[in-house]
């Protein structure tokens, strides 16, 4: 049963390692060196590389597809609010905030262990089966 106030089972991720960032760069196609090359990060005045925002959006995507069949997801959007440092531990959460015309709106948040909110967003999900 999906109703206003329904909370999705949270998805807690392990610490984001440099290996994960290297693999995600290759797998996703996001090759911006600021995420994988310490020399580039330092040349930009940063102390270290930081995680791809799209890695967190992919994790939130796992939260969604772990909850409903993917073909029911009609739209999905996020705003990137803060960077995710190396070794940070993100947790993905979602809450249903509206149900109307066979569609549910889910508010989505990624929060680090220290309380920093790194992503906010929402998805619109159909309540009933549709064709794959």
């Amino acid at each position: 049963m999906i109703a206003v106030g329904t909370e999705l089972p949270p998805l807690a991720l392990p610490p984001i390692s440099r290996t994960t960032l290297a693999l995600f760069a290759g797998a996703s196609g996001d090759h911006n060196p600021i995420h994988i090359d310490l020399d580039v990060a330092r040349s930009a005045g940063l102390d270290d590389v930081f995680a791809h925002g799209m890695l967190s959006m992919a994790h939130l995507g796992r939260l969604l597809t772990g909850w409903v069949p993917q073909e029911r997801i009609r739209s999905y959007r996020v705003r990137f609010a803060a960077i995710t440092p190396v070794l940070a531990q993100p947790t993905c959460t979602g809450t249903v905030t509206a149900v109307e015309d066979g569609l549910a709106t889910v508010e989505l948040v990624v929060t680090l262990a220290d309380g920093t909110v790194t992503l906010t967003g929402d998805a619109v999900v159909a309540l009933h089966e549709s064709e794959i």
Partner: protein, 147 residues
């Protein structure tokens, strides 16, 4: 250096991209996906997929490669080290699967600045379709450039 608003409406060349099973498995592993539907063909078919499904955000990377955003930004005089991803959205029309060839048609939808020019924003929209023209998805990426 300010991005010229003259680029608003510019259409970038449409690019056809093959969706590969191996790449989808690599992506699933990189994001820690544990649902076998995204990596095991038998598991995907058992729930009705014709092949491995393209997960919700995977199209972003193909779009990035297809539209060569890096070269575009460099051509506009943007220092990539000053680029942040501000917002990203997807609208889904029909599921895509491994084995399909998808066409990415990107355009620059908007350019604007905030905070007296300290932050510049570039919005790119990409329509994704398959052979025959069926709509698969639309992507909207907002890129932030720090002055």
């Amino acid at each position: 250096m300010a991005i010229s608003p003259d680029v608003i409406g510019r259409e970038l060349p449409a690019v056809a991209v093959d969706v590969e099973r191996g790449r989808l498995r690599f992506f699933a592993a990189a994001i820690g996906e544990t649902d076998p539907v995204f990596s095991d063909l038998a598991a995907a078919r058992a729930v009705g997929h014709p092949d491995l499904p393209v997960p919700p955000t995977f199209l972003f990377g193909l779009d990035l490669e297809a539209s060569d955003l890096t070269a575009l930004l460099a051509g506009l005089g943007v220092d990539l080290r000053r680029v942040l991803h501000g917002e990203q959205s997807f609208t889904y029309h029909s599921p895509a699967h491994a084995g399909e060839t998808l066409t990415f048609a990107p355009r620059i939808a908007d350019v604007y600045s905030r905070k007296g020019g300290a932050l510049e924003f570039l919005v790119k929209e990409t329509a994704v379709s398959r052979a025959g023209g069926t709509a698969v998805a639309e992507l909207r990426s907002t890129i932030v450039v720090r002055a």
